[in-house]
């Protein structure tokens, strides 16, 4: 090698002694390991590779366009809807239904914005409000007042309320465990304990959400009447709303008018508009 170089050095102005970079041996080894092909082979290979590359890129683009143009299920291309449902299937398999969300101190509580008025635009007479409980047969089981719910017991839990839009606020909710209410109907036989879903609707049916049975049995899922130590305002869902740290805010219905136990997956306001039906953390 150095012999080969010698003549060239005569044209070089600065022939100086070598100091071999300690990495040189490894570089040489790496380089030696790389195969070489002649220019003809490279030309053939280039042709093949670029053709394949072009075909693959075109296929990828067309595939993506295909997905974009798929028929939509609830305003989402069906492949993506399948993707979201697949995600839920995965997480309901590897995840836990009872894992608790992080809680915070009362000092951490923040004011929370009013982000949605759907289903609660008009003020209602809170004293006239009542909650309808509907069984899996679609028949009304009974109606409850706020006192009935508060009789289940109340607790305040402070957690980070998360909006699917991308903001979060630490707030304290006061309410009764949803599972305590459900268990009352299981015990009385009014609702089979193995029902699959729960549907919640505002009194005007303007906003509606569907929940998996597991969601309402999560220990932090509350039927809440208080926010940050104060009674709920109407725009925050008075007199009673869902509050849980295991789903996005779009699922946490304000001003609940009806709780329906059901075995059919309930319609869901935002899921119909392209969002994940589960929206679960």
């Amino acid at each position: 090698m150095s012999d080969d170089r010698t003549p060239d050095e005569t044209t070089s102005t600065e022939p100086t002694p070598a100091a071999v970079d300690p990495r040189q041996e490894r570089w040489d080894r790496e380089a030696a390991a790389a195969p070489t092909i002649d220019a003809d082979a490279y030309r053939r290979r280039s042709r093949r590779s670029f053709l394949g590359f072009g075909v693959a890129m075109a296929a990828g683009y067309l595939g993506f366009r295909h997905i974009q143009n798929r028929p939509e299920t609830d305003n989402l291309p069906d492949i993506l809807r399948t993707g979201l449902e697949g995600n839920e299937a995965l997480w309901s398999t590897i995840g836990s239904d009872t894992r608790l969300a992080r809680t915070f101190d009362q000092d951490d509580r923040e004011d929370i914005r009013v982000n949605g008025r759907i289903g609660i635009r008009d003020e209602i007479d809170l004293d006239a409000w009542e909650l309808s409980i509907v069984g899996v047969d679609g028949e009304l089981i009974e109606t409850l007042t706020l006192d009935d719910i508060q009789a289940l017991g109340g607790e305040e839990i402070v957690w980070e309320h998360k909006c699917i839009e991308g903001w979060s606020t630490i707030v304290g909710w006061t309410g009764a465990k949803f599972s305590d209410l459900a268990r009352r109907y299981y015990d009385s036989g009014a609702v089979p304990a193995d029902h699959e879903y729960v549907a919640l609707r505002t009194p005007d049916d303007g906003y509606y959400v569907g929940l998996d049975r597991e969601m309402i049995h999560h220990p932090q899922t509350l039927l809440a009447w208080g926010l940050n130590g104060e009674p709920l305002t109407q725009l925050h869902g008075a007199p009673l709303r869902l509050a849980t740290p295991i789903v996005y805010g779009i699922k946490q219905l304000k001003r609940i008018g009806t709780i329906e136990f059901t075995n059919e997956r309930p319609p869901d306001y935002w899921a119909e508009r392209g969002y994940d039906w589960h929206a679960r953390f």
């Binding site: 100086t16 570089w27 002649d38």
Partner: protein, 377 residues
Amino acid sequence: MIASTPTVADPPSKPARVARGKHSLTTRWMHWLNFPLLAIMLWTGLRIYNANAVHAIDVFGFRFEFFPDGFFEFFEANRRLAKGIGYHLTFGWLFAINGVAYGVYLAVSGRWRELAPDRYTPRELPKVVAHDLHLRSDAPAHGKYNAAQRLAYTAVIVMGALMLLSGFAIYKPVQLRPLVVILGGYEFARLIHFTVSLALVAFFGLHILQVARAGWRNFASMITGYELKPATAGARVGTAAAVTEETVAAPAASTAAVAEEPDGPEEAGRATSDDEGGTERPDAADVADPDGGPAATEEVADGLADGEVLDGSAEDGVGTDAPVDGEPDIDESGAGPDVDGPAVDSDTSDSDETSDSDTSDSDETSDSDETDEEAGR
């Protein structure tokens, strides 16, 4: 070999070129899968971000929002949160799988050694950067990747990992609560996710720029797997290799900085660092040498048509990688056709006519590099 030393005066001795394996099939597939996947993730991530575009930087009372409204309009990112999430959480798996597979591949194949920063990286990085910014004419010798590349390619893996971790933390903050804690909480995980996505865009921009600078053959190698090298007869290549390997480019290239054409030396010098194939190996010469007969010349010229069209530098079979503009002055100065060669050799010979002060200058600037002075060998 000596006899075949190619010069302008000795055209028939131009030998066959060879292409050297550079990127494995695995690497290429993962690279090109990642390109559309990252694009989809960034695009849909923008749609998601736009639903609550809160991040901004306040500088002395000026509030710098990252994206003007027109930006969202242009990318059709307005009021498309639902679809954005649908894409993001579906394609995210492919992005994640591809990224993890790449990490595993690097680990198993041992190729991580090619791109992990080593103990030389901190010292060499400023030189490479200065060189690329045309503030310095020489650049340290390197293996497959130079110091800046090692840092960038490693950083982008770290960024990808951060994106996955923070993305999963945002996606399943209850199921993956410990992860959220590790990342400093939900809000901080969001901030990481957002910030690193900007960093990825920055990487992408820099990557495109550097690939454009490095030339067609380097780019093509990510598709074909092979990078065309104007493999020359041994003498030239051997010299070039030795010169480059020993970081001798320093005085040589900086000398060339004196040359009339201000761009010349940088372009030439760049061949050293931007040639992502790294230094031309002595064994490249060995391999090439048998093919190096005059007979091969015509054939090669034909065979390279596609590369040359874009390279623009190959008219004479002088295939410098970096200078897209072909650097005719290098040819005239009798540069060898080697990738690294023209820069080094021509510059070196140039230095005959150019001032010594510059040469010594460069020695000074680079004297921290103990090999800088070893010109010619």
